[in-house]
């Protein structure tokens, strides 16, 4: 459905809902072709770059297979694990993955199952490094709050003003207006509760861990280390595909912060980043030529230093980021006068 020209009432309503979302949204048919989308989705897909450049649509997304827009394997596996909307999956409402695009850009994709057999999939997309997200979420909250209040408030106000302006109206009519005031006050309260609950839920789930291909995480880390710290970074990706469940944006920021502290002490200019599978997941290694030795105590202090993430109003620590990922970190002294930071990451 072209965003500029919905052709039916159902389509128009769906389009209005999609455009009101702060995320990019794709509605898919059972064959995972795009049925409807919003303008933000189009912008995000252009930003990340096409998964399959040769299959990139020239005009609009309607009818395009989602696998040509996003990482086909991650999409396929994620849709397979999305709980059905009526399922017994507790509070889980969807499954997520993260994919990288050009210039180390990361797109977060959340897949949800709908009850509509013609449109069973909804994909919500946002930038993983989206520092603008809190502002848009606040705007969305304010708009939902105010627009949802205007209707019931207008009904209450009109009823009160009518009763006041015509005190001698028939008692049966007056009773009807009083009933309106009561009902609309309840509606107003329910709207306030519902909107606040939704906003609170959004804040709590602001950062989530998504399935990501290990080599993508490595590429992202390399780009960030080079850009932020100016290192020469060599990488060694695992030979066989490894998938991790991470918040790439937060984890990479934490690792770059830690690498900066280590570099300040060990004085290296080159770093080798490697990721290899382990029995419990994967081991990420940041290795450098040994300068000043880094003790475990010192590492411990660095891990618990306050760290301000770029898109957050609260501070955290590298240790908290690692704990959240169920990860551990240690300094390993190696042969040939080299040292390494080893981060053990669990699998998905």
């Amino acid at each position: 459905m072209d965003p500029s020209g919905p052709s039916s009432l159902r389509g128009a309503l769906l389009q209005s809902l999609l455009e009101a979302l702060p995320e990019g949204a794709l509605v898919l048919n059972p064959d995972t072709r795009v049925l409807a989308y919003n303008e933000r989705a189009e912008a995000l897909l252009q930003w990340i770059g096409p998964a399959d450049a040769s299959a990139a649509p020239q005009e609009g997304l309607e009818g395009v297979k989602a696998a040509t827009l996003l990482d086909a394997h991650l999409l396929h596996d994620t849709l397979a694990e999305v709980p059905s909307s009526g399922g017994q999956e507790g509070s889980r409402t969807g499954a997520t993955f993260a994919m990288t695009g050009r210039e180390g850009r990361v797109l977060r994709v959340q897949a949800r199952h709908t009850e509509d057999t013609e449109a069973p999939w909804l994909l919500l997309m946002e930038r993983s490094d989206d520092t603008d997200r809190p502002r848009r979420a606040r705007e969305h909250f304010l708009r939902t709050l105010t627009e949802g209040m205007r209707g019931p408030l207008a009904n209450v106000r009109a009823a009160i003003e009518t009763i006041t302006a015509y005190p001698s109206m028939e008692s049966a009519v007056e009773e009807q207006f009083k009933q309106i005031i009561l009902e609309q006050s309840v509606t107003l309260s329910a709207h306030l509760d519902r909107t606040l609950e939704e906003y609170s839920r959004q804040l709590k789930s602001r950062r989530t861990r998504d399935v990501m291909v290990a080599s993508d995480l490595l590429a992202l880390l390399r780009t960030a280390l080079q850009q932020e710290l100016g290192f020469v970074v060599h990488t060694a990706a695992p030979e066989k595909p490894v998938r991790l469940r991470v918040d790439p944006y937060t984890l990479v920021q934490a690792l770059v912060h830690l690498a900066g502290l280590i570099e300040n002490a060990a004085r290296f200019t080159e770093l080798t980043c490697a990721l290899r599978p382990s029995d419990t997941g994967a081991v990420l290694t940041l290795e450098w030529a040994q300068g000043e030795a880094i003790t475990e105590d010192r590492l411990e202090r660095w891990l618990t230093q306050q760290l301000a993430l770029e898109d957050s109003v609260v501070t955290t620590t590298v240790q908290e980021v690692l704990d959240w990922h169920d990860a551990t970190a240690a300094i390993i002294q190696q042969e040939d006068n080299r040292a390494a930071l080893q981060v053990q990451l669990p699998d998905t």
């Binding site: 009432l9 128009a12 708009r143 105010t146 627009e147 949802g148 205007r150 209707g151 408030l153 207008a154 009904n155 209450v156 106000r157 009109a158 009823a159 003003e161 009518t162 302006a165 015509y166 109206m169 009519v173 009807q176 207006f177 309106i180 009902e183 609309q184």
Partner: protein, 121 residues
Amino acid sequence: MATHVLIVDDEPSIAMSLEFIMKKQGYETDVVDDGAKALQRIEETRPDVVLLDVMLPSHDGFEVCRRIREREEWDELKVLMITAKGREEDVKKGLAMGADGYVTKPFAIKDVVARVEQLLT
């Protein structure tokens, strides 16, 4: 003959207040609750003023307004849009569709009455 006001709102609470107050002001009133019925009722009764909500089933208020303005024989019909959408772009959209005025909920009933009177003078 009394001036005829058509109230188009799918929210019975506000429609009841508007209808009550307009009748008390001496207007003849009629109420419908969706866009398609509004167009049909205009065809049948040729009201002088339409109080038109934006969020409506079938055709929304913007669409109803656009269709009204397509009909030359309805040129004299005054349209006052009433909506919970208070953003500037929504107001602009309403006026661009040919509305004669735009009132944002929640409003003072006396202001709506005053706007209707203003449109009819």
